[in-house]
Amino acid sequence: MSDQSYEPSMVLATKTFDVVGTRPVRHDGADKVTGRAIYGADVTLPGLIHGAVLRSPHAHARIKSIDTSKAEAHPQVRAVVTSADIADAGDKTVDLGEGLTRLAFIRNNVLARAKVLYRGHAVAAVAAASVHDALEALNLIEVEYEPLPPVLTAPEAMKEGASLLHDDLTTTELGKPTDKLSNVASHFRHEKGDIEKGFADADLILEKEFDTSTVHQGYIEPHNTTALWNNDGRIQIWTSTQGPFTIRDTTAAILEKPVSQVRVTPTEIGGGFGGKIPVYIDPVAALLSKKSGHPVKIVMSRADVLEGTGPTPGSHIKVKMGVKNDGTMVAAQASLAYEAGAFPGAMVIPASMCVFAAYDIPNVTIDGYDVVVNKPSTAAYRAPGATNAAFATENIVSAMAEKLGVDPLDLRLNNASKKGTRRADGPKFPRIGCVEVLEAMKSHPHYSAPLEGPNRGRGVAIGFWFNAGLPSACNIAVNADGSITLVEGSPDIGGTRTSIAMQAAEVLGLPIENVSPSVVDTDSVGYTAVTGGSRVTFATGLAAIRAARDVRDQMIKRAARIWGVDADTVEFEKGVFISRNGTENRMTFAELAPQLAATGGPIVGRAGVNPPGVGGSFAGNIVDVEIDPETGKVTILRFTAFQDAGKAIHPSYVEGQMQGGSAQGIGWALNEEYFMNPDGKMMNSSLLDYRMPTSLDLPMIDTCIIEVANPGHPFGARGVGEANIIPPPAALAHAIHNAVDIDMRRLPMNPVAVMEAIWQKNGVTD
């Protein structure tokens, strides 16, 4: 690649197709740019009233009493609900598609019972004629609390004698239940090789500790829902979600309804990044609707979103790595303590699967701790857990390279995971693109470009995310004009209507304009798991491919019937049916489509998949920074993002994911944090104070797509939505180190943190 001239957007393609790999205009583009797309806040129904949620002012307290009588007496109030309106879940567990979860945890997060576990925890809700009436009535609800001391970080919560969040939470220790009441929900371990021997073989051992702050996904559209509890007992919900079937199943479980009695329509979604998978207000709105007899809409404020929904875990990480003088990594050890927030479920398992995934190291031990703290119950956020982990690992890898006097990319290349490398959690990697990503980084013009001037530095880092498969369904109907309608159940966050439609178009030899994709409600398509895990273009795309093949095979039979030939003699090439049985017959898809009614009736193709063959994705960054030594401000001079897409179905959308993930990773690195006071109150719960990067803070994020085909997908696609957020904090820390010789081990690396590190380096103590 070194002989190529510089391009801001490179696609290192290895295979080309007719539709896949092109850049058509997205199907929902016109509606989005003209304001006609229907978002949750746009939903209105006859008799609609409005809900609001009362939230805890305490981070940790017992609820001694709730008196709603004054609110109920408000003339505009139609209903008030508390946890008393939901059945006690007891020890019941539910499987919502991502493992067993105690229903009580989900239910008690929706409306607190007995205790509030974080400031912003929902306590009660009101429905009234207007939002203003509902908010006014919240002030009439009297809650008596007994405040308790909060614990706000994993190390604090893990101490002996720490204030306990749950009266019945005991530690599962290395897979075995214990009787020990604790804030540590579980401790697990992955082991590979002999860690002691590994460190004994090492010539250089580095060990450091790292802390990362709680950060939010920062989707611009707040959570919203409209629910109607119909007179026949059926519940309809219109909501902004990444998982309509998850909302359906969770709401049904909480309200003790069969799933068939709940219908969820996903509206357009203004960002999610993992944060719009859990359920918060949908069952509450449904209960208010049941009590009031009206459809009820709830729209969160920004403070509600930041204080009452799931951010990503803060963490305390220890990493120790050993390397030989020849650059061979021989041992790696990690302790990952992740904050779950109020209920167990920190993203520490995926963190453990990613922390050393980029490297082929023979001796590894990884300990993970899932720790509850008095913060909102955490949710997924783009490669959940992996960014924290890579911040630690990549710091040490770069420091090793510096001490060994070798190029940091060469050290990574010399130890890079490849097909057959055994991961610390057990399985061997299938075909992956770690080496190719590193090679692209090393040969990119950015890496060899001069970087001159004081207080400037260049950094590099890589990261891995394994991606997901999970169930998806798709139906395709053929229209008489030769077009098809494609129905799927994956909410479209990043252009997936089009990336899925393109895969069907490729199979059927159609122009993309002849595919009309729709995301529909839970009664109108087969079960489809969440838009998460970078799975939609892979798994729902695979469903679309198979549905399109089903259409193709049915149409071949129709063509054969028309021509009076055996269907086995009919072939399909780029949208044309051809029979070469003696005389050659040819008919295009568009010519056959209007003849379906007369040859047997409409054709509908369908497929349901739960695919193996998921392809993990590696991402890397090269970043140049300049530090202002007087203020600590970090200015990004140049940023290039690299990622293995397998096959970029729609390269522009892949680039968009890479740029979006990079921007979020930069915000996580340099500015964002839940700034908590000692009482557990978030002091920056507005977008003015919770400082996400804006376009003015960022340079152009150049991209380089690497294509190492995933053998588990017909076009080679890998998920691309997540791995891109992993390397930015580590790459920026490396660049800052190279600029001003400080070692940043805490996120965010904001001006205060940078100045403190500079002062410490210079021996300034005051």
């Binding site: 499987d95 697990f188 998978i277 995926p350 997924a380 956020y381 959940p384 998460g532």
Partner: protein, 88 residues
Amino acid sequence: MATVFIPGSMRDLTGGQAEIEVHGSTVRDIVDELDVAHPGVKDWLVDGNRLKPSLSVAVDGVVSPLGLLQDVEGNSEVHFVAAIAGGC
């Protein structure tokens, strides 16, 4: 025979063995056979007629959505790993 890699947290059931060779043509066969030699393994892995929802099985490096129904070859590697998805 397939090679089953025993998770660290399950090794007290296998006398500390980390790798066990087992006959079987499906993951279900393998779990049943393991449970004969090492009682308690099935309870650890299986809930009713399927893998516990918190677990997935990877055969030859590929996580299988079929769980206990997944076919296993004679030289396959079988791992029981955490079942998780992701965020975006």
